[in-house]
């Protein structure tokens, strides 16, 4: 009997993941053992400490380039950059989640088990402290995302997908008010998410089948094997292409690309706004991190085959996002469609098969994450007696009531519209440049054309806020607590700084743009 060879494990390189998952478990214990009134503070601090600790470890690992635990996890430039981005954005999202001064008790339901619309429900809505399970759930999700962007084989990727998706399904259902919407969003997200992950898994199975039969290599789903198989597997390429397609579907679903975007508007609208912010920022980073890795590492040599198809998807995504955003009347839905369109622009970056493309995509992800978090932070502040006032007509004249927040929101909208001196513009340049360089002019043209359409809904909001007279129903903007204010300011500052002086982050992304196999 041969000796069992244990794979080497580089704990330092894995430490961010381990920290997040460990603290998540710890959070579950806190739920069980810490008295209710201390839980909020404890959980929040714990989660933040975890995120910051993980971030420190990411920075500490900055120069690591390795593949560890038997090829399951790759710690390389993109991994570290994206993990860092996820962690920073997650920290901001946690600040939004932890806010309790904007609304008494926070944005989350006190007892998820209370039947919606019942008397108990109304009572909890009036001010019971929100559930603190959200923190461990968030921490789990972040941990899952960290694995997702680092996953170096398809199985790990699948598991990471589930690890970060499942908590998100739950988080969506936890809104304090309008719980029917929240639950509906959770159900839709869950059913469709599960549906898409089934496709992903079937894709994994097919790719596994494809990797068989190479002379000196065992079958497997790690990217090195897949990469080798794409080049010289004797198996039927039908397996490869069908598998690749199904894998792509699973990932594109998470990335909210058309026609797999259908869940996005409903979920973004129904979920508690801090969770929406978290999803819009972090899920996007994670999903595109995985897309980058799958298509740049595993299937790099099939680029000629997948680029046109994914290109069509990208164009469709931009188009659907932009055109449908035009007539939206709910600010969260509008931002959802905007995020769909942005997924299209990100895909343009993904499809540039160069380091510059990877760097551009990563830069865009980080830049977009900051802006979108700030945008949703403002949305949490515009409230009336019934909670957030998300219908656009209610925002009329907001600029006259609270010029500062309206100004901030305008700035972010300008960033989304890609006006220079905002990170949005730099991001667009960062993805369009490499795309054009690799001959994908049609994608750039489509991106430009849809940007024109997309500018209209943003402008409509600006017109609403500034050029319309405030009415009786114009809600007030609540003065944010320290947490939201911090998150908002970080988001806005990052949008501005990345728009004016993008060089440091851009350099970082460029240096980090090489994958290890």
């Amino acid at each position: 009997m041969t000796e069992l060879k244990l794979p080497s494990i580089d704990y330092a390189a894995l430490s961010p993941i381990l920290i997040m998952l460990g603290v998540a478990l710890l959070g579950v214990l806190v739920e069980a053992f810490v008295p209710r009134r201390h839980r909020h503070l404890t959980q929040l601090s714990l989660a933040l400490v975890a995120v910051l600790g993980a971030l420190v470890m990411v920075v500490f690992n900055a120069d690591e380039r390795l593949v560890t635990i038997g090829g399951a996890i790759a710690v390389d430039g993109p991994t570290l950059f994206l993990q860092g981005a996820i962690l920073v954005l997650a920290a901001m999202a946690l600040l939004l989640i932890g806010e309790r001064s904007v609304e008494r008790g926070g944005a989350f339901v006190a007892q998820a088990a209370v039947t919606a619309e019942s008397d108990d429900d109304r009572r909890q809505a009036e001010g019971s402290n929100g559930a603190t399970e959200v923190y461990p759930l968030t921490t789990f999700a972040v941990g899952g995302m960290l694995i997702f962007v680092a996953a170096n084989d398809l199985l790990t990727m699948f598991i990471a997908l589930e690890v970060f998706s499942l908590p998100l399904y739950l988080l969506c259902a936890l809104a304090r008010r309008r719980r029917l919407l929240s639950q509906e969003a959770a159900m839709k997200y869950f059913l469709l998410g599960a549906y898409a992950s089934a496709f992903f898994l079937f894709g994994v199975a097919l790719v596994y089948g494809f990797t068989a039969g190479m002379p000196d290599r065992a079958a497997g789903v790690d990217f090195a094997t897949v990469h080798a198989a794409v080049k010289d597997s004797p198996a039927s390429p039908v397996l490869l292409f069908a598998g690749m397609a199904l894998l792509a579907i699973g990932l594109l679903f998470k990335a909210a690309a058309a026609p797999f975007h259908v869940w996005t508007p409903d979920v973004y609208q129904g979920a508690p706004t801090p969770v929406t912010a978290f999803m819009a920022a972090c899920t996007k980073v994670a999903a595109f991190g995985a897309l980058l890795r799958v298509f740049h590492v595993a299937f790099a040599d099939a680029a000629w085959d997948f680029t046109p198809i994914l290109g069509v998807v990208a164009v469709l995504t931009m188009l659907v996002g932009a055109v449908l955003a035009v007539t939206q009347t709910d600010i969260k839905r509008l931002l959802a469609y905007s995020s769909i369109a942005n997924a299209g622009y990100l895909l343009v970056g993904v499809l540039a098969p160069t380091g510059a493309g990877v760097a551009g995509t990563m830069f865009y992800l980080a830049a977009y994450g900051f802006s979108v978090l700030a945008a949703f932070a403002v949305v949490t502040l515009v409230r009336d007696a019934d909670g957030e006032a998300t219908h656009l007509s209610r925002w009329a004249g907001l600029g006259r009531r609270s010029p500062f927040y309206a100004g901030v929101f305008t700035f972010i909208l300008l960033a989304f519209a890609g006006i220079p001196l905002t990170s949005g513009f730099m991001g667009k340049f960062a993805v369009f440049g490499p795309a054009l360089e690799s001959g994908q002019a049609w994608l750039v043209v489509a991106g430009v054309l849809t940007s024109m359409v997309l500018a209209f809904p943003y402008l409509r909001v600006v017109v609403m806020m500034w050029l319309s007279e405030p009415g009786d129903s114009t809600p007030t903007v609540t003065v944010p607590g320290g947490l939201t204010a911090t998150a908002l300011m970080i988001g806005v500052a990052a949008t501005l700084v990345l728009g004016v002086l993008p060089a440091p982050l851009l350099d970082l992304a460029t240096d980090a743009a090489t994958f290890v196999r």
Binding site: A359, R400, P403, L414, A417, G418, I419, P420, L421, F425, M426, K428, F429, F432, G433, L436, E437, A441, V444, V445, V448, L449, S451, M452, A455, F456, L459, R460, V463, W466, L467, S468, L501, P502, A503, L506, D507, T510
Partner: protein, 510 residues
């Protein structure tokens, strides 16, 4: 003194001023106005110093400054000015204080923050200066787009009838052009070897097909900005809705970015494509001249009318640029300056009329000259400048454009000359319907209509009138500055002026 970083200081100064104005206590709008005015005068003073330090026979690009910005993309903060840019910078520096002074009470009627209005004007000045001072395509693009934002709010927040529609249309229309240009900028960056430095890019050879596409991207943006037919419909709306001061800047300066862009970017960077496209551009310019002039005749709103006249004038500028002769090119640049002065004046005067009457409709006036002879006189003078009467500055530019065009393309020049007849028609008819004829009895009842120009208003119009006359009689100081830059541009395109058909007359007699 020439080592002084004029351009960056000029760009940043108004921005700082805007911050100061915004931070002033809200209770004291007067102070905000004074500070804004003072600040813009400071900028003017600095610009004058810069004008003096410009060496006419020196390098093409002077006052060059370059600071690294985004090394990964080879993008730098590079500022530099040639004669063309210098003239436009001067125009901005002159117009902004006057506009601020002219808008003294404009913002008060809008129920919105007065200091913000003046801060926006200063921000606008910053972006306008930046766009002309930039010598890096990326930087240019940045200012080109950002410029929309303050103007959007000026129109949208402080404008008149239909301001929302006009503001959104202005913004979207310009953004559409800007995004096409973005695609072209990205393309240029790729083919130019990952640099966007203007001087480097002029040396780059681009394959014919690519060059044409890139040219079209840039041209479309500039054609919308300028605006040329058929991309002009936003201007009457924006010009009609904007407050008069902002409209003066919009038409006087902002739109010049389009024509400036063609001269600075389209021609030198894509010379072959420019030549390839020139017939089309000439046609567009020509249509603009005739079409917009006819439309101006048919307008019933004063500000829309002036906007249409501007479109006609931009047609002349377009023709001048794409004729590719020194005279036409110099004329086009001079036209940009003169049109800024003349139409700026026209917009400001029309604004004064409208502010008094409370309506921009021509039929609401009639015989106003009886009540306000001085204002009517200034309106008439501005009209004369607009129809390019000799003795006013626009004559020189129009003459240069036409004569330069004639040497290479006779039909175009002849048809364009018809535009001067139409110009007389729209100006005189406008003057007749507003200030001449029987006095509209409604006007006598309006107290404001009896007030002729106030001292403040006189101070606003006097410098413009003086400049229009001065440059009408003695344009040489300006043409001397423009000329080398235009000649260099023509060299970039590879065009030389045609010799007279019967040569050697000059040599024989001089």
């Amino acid at each position: 003194m020439s080592d002084f970083p004029f351009l960056s200081v000029l760009t940043v100064a108004p921005l700082v001023g805007a911050l100061v104005v915004v931070l002033l206590p809200r209770r004291r709008p007067e102070l905000a106005k004074q500070v804004a005015l003072g600040w813009s005068l400071l900028v003017l003073a600095l610009s004058v110093v810069m004008w003096v330090s410009f060496q006419v026979d020196g390098d093409r690009l002077q006052f060059r400054e370059s600071y690294p910005w985004i090394p990964t993309w080879g993008v730098n903060f590079t500022f530099a000015a040639d004669g063309i840019a210098l003239v436009m910078l001067m125009l901005i520096a002159v117009l902004v204080p006057l506009v601020i002074l002219a808008s003294w009470h404009d913002a008060e009627s809008s129920k919105r923050s007065v200091p913000v209005y003046f801060a926006l004007l200063l921000v606008l000045e910053c972006t306008m200066i930046g766009v002309f001072a930039a010598a890096d395509v990326f930087l240019f693009y940045v200012f080109f787009e950002v410029m929309l934002v303050p103007m959007y709010f000026l129109i949208g927040s402080y404008g008149g009838h239909q301001r929302q529609y006009a503001a959104v249309k202005f913004f979207l229309y310009s953004l559409v052009g800007g995004l096409f240009m973005l695609a072209a900028v990205v393309g240029l960056w790729v083919v130019g070897g990952k640099t966007l430095d203007w001087q480097t890019l002029t040396q780059v050879d681009i394959s014919t097909g690519t060059e044409r596409w890139l040219f079209l991207g840039f041209f479309l943006a500039f054609a919308i900005k300028a605006p040329f037919f058929p991309f002009h419909t936003w201007l009457p709306d924006a010009g009609g809705a904007a407050p008069a001061g902002a409209a003066a800047l919009l038409v006087g300066v902002l739109d010049k970015v389009g024509t400036f862009g063609i001269l600075r970017y389209c021609l030198p960077l894509f010379p072959e494509a420019s030549k390839w496209f020139a017939p089309w551009a000439l046609a567009l310019g020509l249509i603009g001249i005739i079409y917009a002039a006819l439309l101006a005749v048919g307008q019933s709103d004063l500000k829309r009318l002036v906007s249409y006249t501007s479109i006609a004038h931009f047609g002349f500028i377009g023709v001048g640029i794409f004729a590719f002769t020194t005279q036409a090119g110099t004329g086009a640049v001079l036209y940009m300056l003169n049109h800024g002065l003349a139409t700026g004046l026209l917009f400001l005067v029309v604004g004064m009329l409208i502010a008094r009457r409370g309506s921009a409709l021509i039929k609401d006036f009639g015989g106003a000259g009886k009540l306000m002879p001085l204002l009517a006189g200034v309106l008439f003078f501005a009209g004369l400048a607009s129809l390019a009467l000799p003795g006013t500055a626009p004559f020189v530019s129009e003459f240069l454009v036409l004569i330069g065009t004639f040497t290479v393309n006779k039909p175009v020049a002849v048809i364009a000359t018809l535009g001067i007849i139409l110009a007389a028609a729209y100006v005189l008819w406008m003057v007749q319907r507003t200030t001449q004829g029987t006095l509209n009895p409604e006007l006598t009842g309006i107290e404001a209509m009896r007030r002729d120009l106030s001292l403040r208003e006189k101070v606003v119009v006097a410098p413009l009138i003086a400049l229009v006359l001065l440059l009408g009689f003695y344009p040489k100081p300006v043409t001397d500055v423009i000329n080398p830059a235009v000649q260099a541009t023509m060299q970039d395109v590879g065009k030389t002026d045609p010799a007279p058909e019967v040569g050697s007359v000059q040599e024989a007699s001089r």
